[in-house]
């Protein structure tokens, strides 16, 4: 039923991204081991787990920042050549990521931040500054709703609040019209009213026919919007629930049990 919606007929893939037996080691640390993970065409997957469970590592593999030590990655049913996969390739394959924490250049103006990594360039790689600024200003007014607040394409990131920064990062992902949007704790630095905006955005992705991987510490938020929940613990998938299979209290209890069951549980 999902596959039929919104997307071009003729393509037969079921999962926008699929990881098979993925390992990731950093020196002696095994961050992920034998992880199978997939995201359906029009599915919102909530990714849960304690600090250090491997959530960020997993999504960095999906978004092309990290190369897995072993395993297979498929995007829209096609195997990915991992030697040739990168953030740029992920963008080309319409996968956008809003990473955790700082994802904007603080001293740079907003127009540069919106386009860096895939600038609008003319011959010889020179940037079409006028066009980038034009689109940036349009985005600021329409998509983000910065009106009359003295924020323009020329403003630098350090003039913005945490919520405004997150708004820019999300607007960047939205503008490039991804099939899969990866959000790594997008609400961590936000005020309550701003959190609602992010949740509305996630639901907007879904109704526009896109898919989303959503990492969030606040269980109530993920539980509310996710079609499926995947729980990671110490680099392995330890639980998976479709929407409605698990209630919020039960989910909370489970996460607490996981946390306390860890040999070196951190506070």
């Amino acid at each position: 039923m999902q596959a039929a919606e919104a997307h071009a007929a003729g393509e037969s893939w079921r999962h926008v991204v699929r990881l098979e037996k993925v390992d990731m080691t950093f020196g002696k640390v095994q961050a992920l081991s034998q992880v199978d993970f997939e995201v359906g065409r029009n599915e919102i997957v909530g990714l849960l787990g304690d600090n250090g469970a491997g959530k960020s590592t997993l999504i960095k593999i999906v978004s092309g920042v990290l190369r897995p030590s072993a395993g297979r990655v498929e995007i829209r049913g096609r195997p990915v050549d991992l030697d040739d996969y990168s953030v740029r390739k992920a963008h080309d394959l319409r996968i956008e990521t809003v990473h955790q924490g700082q994802t904007l250049g603080e001293k740079q103006p907003l127009w540069r931040n919106l386009f860096v990594g895939r600038q609008i360039v003319g011959r010889f790689g020179f940037i079409d500054v006028k066009k980038e600024k034009e689109i940036a200003n349009q985005l600021l007014r329409q998509a983000i709703g910065f009106r009359g607040e003295g924020i323009t394409a020329e403003s630098t990131v350090r003039e913005l609040s945490g919520g405004e920064r997150q708004g820019i990062a999300i607007a960047r992902a939205m503008y490039f019209e991804a099939d899969l949007i990866v959000l790594d704790e997008p609400t961590a630095a936000l005020a309550v009213s701003e959190v609602r905006k992010v949740l509305a955005f996630v639901e907007g992705v879904k109704s526009a026919g896109g898919a989303c991987i959503y990492i969030e510490h606040n269980l109530a938020h993920v539980h509310e919007v996710a079609d499926r929940l995947v729980i990671l613990d110490r680099g392995s998938v330890v639980g998976e629930f479709a929407k409605g299979e698990i209630g919020l209290p039960e989910l909370t209890a489970r996460m607490i049990a996981l946390h306390e069951g860890r040999p070196h549980a951190r506070a």
């Binding site: 990473h99 700082q102 250049g105 001293k107 740079q108 540069r112 860096v116 020179f126 607040e149 003295g150």
Partner: protein, 344 residues
Amino acid sequence: MPAPEPARIRALRIEGLPIVAVLVALVGAFMVAAPEVFLGYRIYMSFLATVPPLLVLALGLTLVIAAGEIDLSFPSVVALSGWVLAYFIHELHSPWLGVAFALLAGGLVGFVNGILVARIGIPSIIATLATQFLWGGLTTVFSQGLSYSLGDVEELFLWRLLVGRIGPLPVQALWALAIAVALWFVLNRHRFGEHLLFIGDNARVAEVVGVNVAREKIRLFALMGVLAAVASLLLTLENKNFFNTQGGGYLLEVMAAVFIGGTSVFGGQASVVGTVAGSFIIGMVEAGLVATGLQGFWVRAVVGMVFLAAVIGHLVIEEPERGRAVSRAIRARMGFFRRGPVRG
């Protein structure tokens, strides 16, 4: 969110404006103090002949510092490439090949720096300190510690092309200006420059937005090497002489020119216009002070004062909050705080 900046501060944001003003003020002061020298054109032609090597080095270093890195090895490239050029002219009588190999040598030194920094992961201050010793030392070995006098080099078309005179105007000034304009566009209008700014701002951010950080850093150091070789060509041909420690005196002067020009010590922000002004300030102070009758001993002290004033000035413009905090503290101490709330 901070309040909108006062228009006064906004105006100072025009690239390089404060430091160009300092340069103009300095020239004005010299004109008053030594009118017989500074109201004629000769002294300026002399600056235009001597400043270009310093300027070209400073322009390259501006990009390096914009990316949050440093290159200490360029003085040795000035020596090495100078030796290559002198050897080809003096011993092999093929100046054009000399130019090609001098540039190649600079590019190679820079490329090796880039590999050390970006692939092997040695901090640039250490990697380039090491290569400064290495290439400077090898230049001494290659040249057997000798100097080459290139007295008859003036006959060459190459000499006229790079450091000749159009009327009284030294041609190297035009080359340096062309490089400055080109690098302004590279830094402010090209993808490569934007990548450097993001790398300097926050390399982790650059990585996640899809900048190939390692590749861009290697390109950056290679470019710096080539520019150092260009500076070496201009210097060696202008002096009509090669000596194996040439370039050694440039290290601190070039860094001073870049920072006086307003490029951020912390990376992520750089001013090519500022570097041009900063280079001329550094290049002029000595001649200017001597002409005004002050002893040469004063040169370094005056450079130090201009340097400090410039860096504080840039800080105030770059981070108005800090500037306001300073003026608030001063006013409070002087008992002026009753005048009303401080602006902003």
